[in-house]
């Protein structure tokens, strides 16, 4: 694979290549969503996580299938990294009956019980207590699983977050509080909304805290490895804060007039995927191999989109009859 592997470099490049593949799969999926949205093939609201892919990829590398995650409204990457299959994912976004939620959920309300993905959430902070509840389920079951509670910096001022970090510490629940801090709470800078410190908040409750560069997937991967191992060993909650950048608007189509054009222009140089790509080349990987990888992912995505286009739309009567479980 590598041209002139240095000692240890082969291992590094294999790990980075795996992470890169996952990030690229998320990036390309969201770019495809963006295009489908622009072409009116996806209705409603979608919130893209372009620029934030390192976080769920770095974390999910350490998760088992039965570990649970609750993801945010900006959660496509968090969902895909946990193993939500692309075909069901695209069909859901496109409102088809073959969607993983039969076209009833969409981007903000997608879940896949089969891979422990408990649900995206249209409510900021709405998944926090659910993730903590699944951590309680893991504690009761005693099988050594853990929960990942994804949230954004915009959720830091939500009351339920504060209730839940207290509870998780009080009951020693196996949960990783994973904050993707992109500096923006919807249309406002987070420093105009929240004046606390996640680190100090964790310390106040005796919860271990680590910060990782969310633009560097290996940094997230290494930090998450420590935290996940620590949670499994101690059943104590931990906090991981990753500083990331939000490349797109709050919602797709958001003209972002509230952002400084210079800041937006500077994002390009911070692209975590481009960084990983450059590093792989520096480690000696062939560019053609990465191109082939990209083509493979494109094919997978296009197959998912084509299948969704060909799929039936959901029937109203079936949806109406399924408000309650039987």
């Amino acid at each position: 694979m590598a041209k002139n592997p240095a000692p240890g470099a082969a291992q590094d490049s294999a790990l980075l290549l795996n992470c890169y593949r996952e990030m690229l799969r998320i990036r390309k999926s969201e770019q495809r969503l963006s295009k489908l949205f622009a072409d009116s093939e996806i209705p409603g609201f979608i919130h893209l996580s372009i620029g934030q892919e390192s976080v769920p990829v770095g974390i999910s590398a350490h998760l088992k299938r039965d570990d649970t995650v609750a993801v945010t409204h900006r959660g496509h990457g968090q969902a895909l990294a946990k193993g939500v299959p692309l075909a069901g994912f695209f069909a859901e976004m496109m409102g088809r009956d073959t969607g993983i939620c039969r076209g009833r959920g969409g981007s903000m309300h997608i879940a896949d019980a089969g891979v422990g993905m408990l649900g995206a959430n249209g409510i900021v902070g709405g998944g926090i207590a659910i993730a903590v509840g699944s951590a309680l389920a893991h504690q009761l079951a005693g099988a050594g699983n853990l929960a990942v509670c994804y949230f954004g910096d915009g959720a830091l001022a939500e009351g339920v977050f504060h209730e839940c970090i207290n509870l998780a510490a009080l009951w020693s629940l196996p949960v990783l509080f994973a904050c993707e801090n992109n500096g923006w709470g919807e249309f406002s800078r987070t420093d105009t909304q929240f004046c606390g410190s996640l680190e100090k908040l964790g310390a106040a409750f005796g919860i271990g805290y680590r910060c990782a560069d969310g633009l560097d997937v290996l940094a997230v991967h290494a930090t998450a490895a420590d935290l996940v191992a620590g949670i499994r060993a101690t059943s104590r909650p931990m906090i991981l804060e990753c500083k990331v950048e939000r490349f797109h608007g709050h919602y797709e189509g958001d003209p972002q007039k509230y952002r400084d054009p210079e800041e937006l222009k500077a994002l390009e140089a911070k692209d975590p995927l481009a960084k990983a790509h450059a590093k792989l080349l520096a480690l000696g990987l062939e560019a053609t191999l990465l191109e082939a990888l990209a083509a493979e992912i494109d094919d997978e995505i296009e197959a998912a989109v084509a299948a969704a286009r060909a799929a039936e739309v959901p029937q109203f009567a079936a949806a109406k009859a399924d408000v309650y479980a039987s």
């Binding site: 649970t68 903590v132 389920a137 509870l167 309650y324």
Partner: protein, 324 residues
Amino acid sequence: METIRFGQAIGKALGDAMRADPRVFLLGEDIGAAGGPFGVTRGLHKEFGAARVRDFPISEAALVGTALGAALCGWKPVAEIMFMDFCTLAMDNLVNQAAKAHFMFGGQSAVPLVVRTPHGGGLNAGAQHSQCLEAWFAHVPGLTVLCPATPADAYGLLRSAIASPNPVVFVENKSLYARKGGIEADPQPIPIGEARLVREGTDVTVVTYGASVYAAEAAVRKAAEEGIDLEIVDLRSLQPWDEKTVLASLAKTHRLVIFHEAVEAFGIGAEIAARMADVGFDELDAPIVRVGAPFMPVPYSPALEREYLPNEDKLMAAVRRVLL
């Protein structure tokens, strides 16, 4: 047939459900060694331990959300919200999360979650500890809402609630906790959605639920003195409610009064009246009349609360109206 108090019947249902299924566990404020503010969970902490009878911090949003997360993982949590008024703090988790998870995730998930909570006045507990908010929850697709009146119904419906794959708001009128009633030696679950015919009568149907059932029963003698024979239907289950039984009763008496402690405006009674005015139009010999609390916060002073609460005299005034 044994005699048991309403609160004890609920405790018995919780204990029996926990013995029958290791996935059932309880969460709530002060429900452990303290036995709950009304003593409903007394003894359960000792039998099942702190892992299954969990004292929760005063964090209602986390309480319901955590219970929901556990339910989505296959556990059967029963959460207690100390007063129904405090449900406001857990509304996102009840309304946006629990109620919708099954539907919006395409039927993947069952949500075997029960939220028990006491409603109702009569204790001079004032505006924030006395409300009957069940209509809010009955308005939310995905939620089941139950409100038993007797110890036997409390037991049987709570067993059904815990067995249900859907989120249930189980409402207990706090003035009933000490009330005694009969229960079978081996009580069985009572199906959700079936009303109980409390008393057969020929002249006026009174549809009611919760503590108001007893006020309706108290009105029977007064009515009889005036030559009026009341039929009383106890809904027990508010969402879904037993339209068939109410309609059958209306077809017999042709007169309908709906009687509940909750605020009358936009309440459970409004829904029943609207449905009966539609599907029961041909049966009606008089306007449908509702008797509920006036449109005001529950007042504190005994002198005010007495006048605020619906009672048999207000019910009788309505009964006379539909017989004019």
